[in-house]
């Protein structure tokens, strides 16, 4: 049995700056430390993540995060076996900051360097937290991405479908802004929806009438906008109840689409004794979505795995873990490792985003 591998991971591809140390054996994975320096406060007043502020903040915080991760793990840098870093996809400024920092650490210590796909980090998290066996079905909802993946190995992902336009996270942020709720939109809409009536407004369930696992949320956004405009023009504003009902109606539509498409994704998942449905990414924090997915897994006699929230959103432990699995299968990257703003997990599948024949209409 190979000895334990101790990996330092760095993540800086979107809102958060993070560093973590993970120790992985053949049977077990332990997070020795996971530091996430969020930028939510910095961004709240701007209605979302402000990217250039983010790039600067990443550059300023990365080395501090690394130091904290080492301190919390009670390890010197030389005790680390490899350095892993998110090298895409994401905000290019942030990704570059992370890659440069990782290269510096690798050059200074002589440790091997691994560039990791941010989405692979999310997609492999169920193995870090629950030792989920391959293959498993993954609904990956993160930032601008939303896709169904069949995960059969640390670098083997096949995409069953996904959104052809907006991702749900983006739709949540934009709808929140449209109806006067704060950012980030996900939690704001979920909270408002608790007091809302899901049946007051009939919003479309885009692409439900079409086969396959592809989804669309852009037309839903337009429908909510039209309803909002109609309310404002008849009553000169939105009441708190209107806000809640719009939020509830919108969220219900998103949940319905995700649930039905998950049901179809299960159909593409080879029958096996222990089928597992996993969900990861920020939107996985939404309790309505989570509950719906749990039901689908149960109906398919499968297991539902949703990693703890701190590991569902952006973090560096997932990057360290992904590298720990991948390093058994591939060579390290060299100093030519570069940041990739776009980096599909499954390059064998035809392009999907923006491929809607009839655009974003329901």
């Amino acid at each position: 049995m190979p000895p334990a591998r101790t990996i330092l991971g760095l993540e800086s591809s979107c809102d958060d700056t993070a560093a973590a140390i993970v120790r992985v054996t053949d049977t077990d994975a332990t997070i020795l430390s996971s530091v996430v320096a969020g930028q939510t406060d910095l961004h709240a007043s701007y209605g979302g993540v402000v990217p250039e502020i983010a790039a600067r903040a990443h550059a300023e915080k990365l080395d501090i995060c690394v130091e904290q991760a080492l301190t919390q793990a009670k390890l010197p840098l030389r005790a680390v076996d490899a350095i892993a870093v998110t090298s895409g996809p994401g905000l290019i400024g942030g990704v570059v900051s992370g890659v440069m920092c990782a290269k510096g650490l690798a050059a200074a210590t002589g440790k091997p360097l691994y560039g990791v796909n941010h989405l692979a980090g999310h997609a492999l998290t169920p193995r870090l937290t629950d030792q989920t066996p391959y293959p498993y079905l993954m609904l990956l909802v993160s930032g601008g991405h939303c896709q169904f993946l069949l995960v059969s190995g640390p670098d083997s992902f096949s995409r069953l479908g996904g959104t052809i336009d907006d991702a749900p996270g983006e739709a949540f942020d934009k709808i929140a802004r449209l109806i006067g709720l704060p950012q980030p939109g996900g939690p704001a809409i979920e909270t408002a929806a608790l007091k809302g009536d899901t049946t007051r407004f009939a919003f479309p369930r885009p692409l439900l009438d079409r086969p396959g696992c592809d989804m669309s949320f852009s037309g839903l956004k337009t429908a909510v906008l039209r309803t909002r405009d109609a309310l404002i023009s008849t009553q000169q504003g939105l009441t708190r109840q209107d806000q809640s009902d719009l939020a509830a109606g919108f969220q219900a539509a998103v949940v319905d689409v995700l649930i039905e498409k998950t049901r179809r994704a299960f159909a593409a998942y080879p029958i096996a004794p222990n089928r597992t449905l996993c969900v990861a990414g920020g939107v996985a924090a939404n309790m309505a979505i989570r509950a719906g997915l749990e039901t689908i897994a149960k109906q398919n006699e499968g297991t539902f795995v949703a990693p703890p929230l701190a590991l569902c959103t952006d973090n560096a432990a997932m990057i360290a873990y992904a590298a720990a699995e991948q390093m058994q299968k591939r060579d390290p990257d060299d100093m030519t490792l570069s940041a990739r703003p776009r980096w599909p997990l499954d390059t064998n599948q035809p392009a999907m985003l923006g491929s809607g024949k009839k655009g974003a209409k329901a």
Partner: protein, 157 residues
């Protein structure tokens, strides 16, 4: 100063696709297209159709809302698809490298009001507006640089 120059009624999303592809055929490196209109007017849809029609290899055209800029290699040169929705400071535009791209690429820019004084004078402005029909859009195009008169000849035909 821009002058209103062209108004096109787009019956449905398919008509928007067509007009976007036809514009794509006419663009060259150094052209900047500003895509204006409210949320849901179809700016991203327009940009995606245009980009997809010029790609060498079909690939995903994700929304640039999170990443701000997505770049593509196309048969007509590099395309920068930018969404400035989340920007608050003109300095951030410069940090993106967008000003250089105005010269070296074809730029499609959503939420271009964030450009402020950096807005290139030679840009083509495209405004998309919703109508009472949920599928229909009205596109208006304006420009002040005379190159567009020649470039857009037969575009809406």
């Amino acid at each position: 100063m821009s002058h209103p120059a062209l108004t096109i009624h787009l019956q449905d999303a398919e008509a928007t696709d067509q007009i976007a592809r036809a514009l794509g055929q006419r663009l060259q490196v150094g052209d900047v297209v500003l895509l204006q209109g409210p949320v849901g007017a179809g700016k991203s849809h327009f940009a995606r159709s245009l980009i997809r029609s010029l790609l060498k290899e079909p690939e995903d055209v994700p929304s640039p809302t999170f990443t701000l800029v997505q770049t593509y290699e196309t048969v007509s040169g590099a395309i920068w698809h930018a969404d400035l929705y989340r920007l608050s400071d003109i300095q951030e535009v410069e940090e993106l490298g967008l000003v250089d791209a105005f010269e070296t690429a074809i730029c499609l820019i959503e939420w271009p009001d964030r450009l402020g004084t950096l807005t290139p004078e030679s840009a083509l402005r495209i405004d998309l507006v919703n109508t009472d029909d949920p599928d229909e859009r009205v596109l208006s195009a304006e420009w002040s640089d005379k190159k567009w008169e020649e470039r857009l000849e037969g575009w809406s035909a």
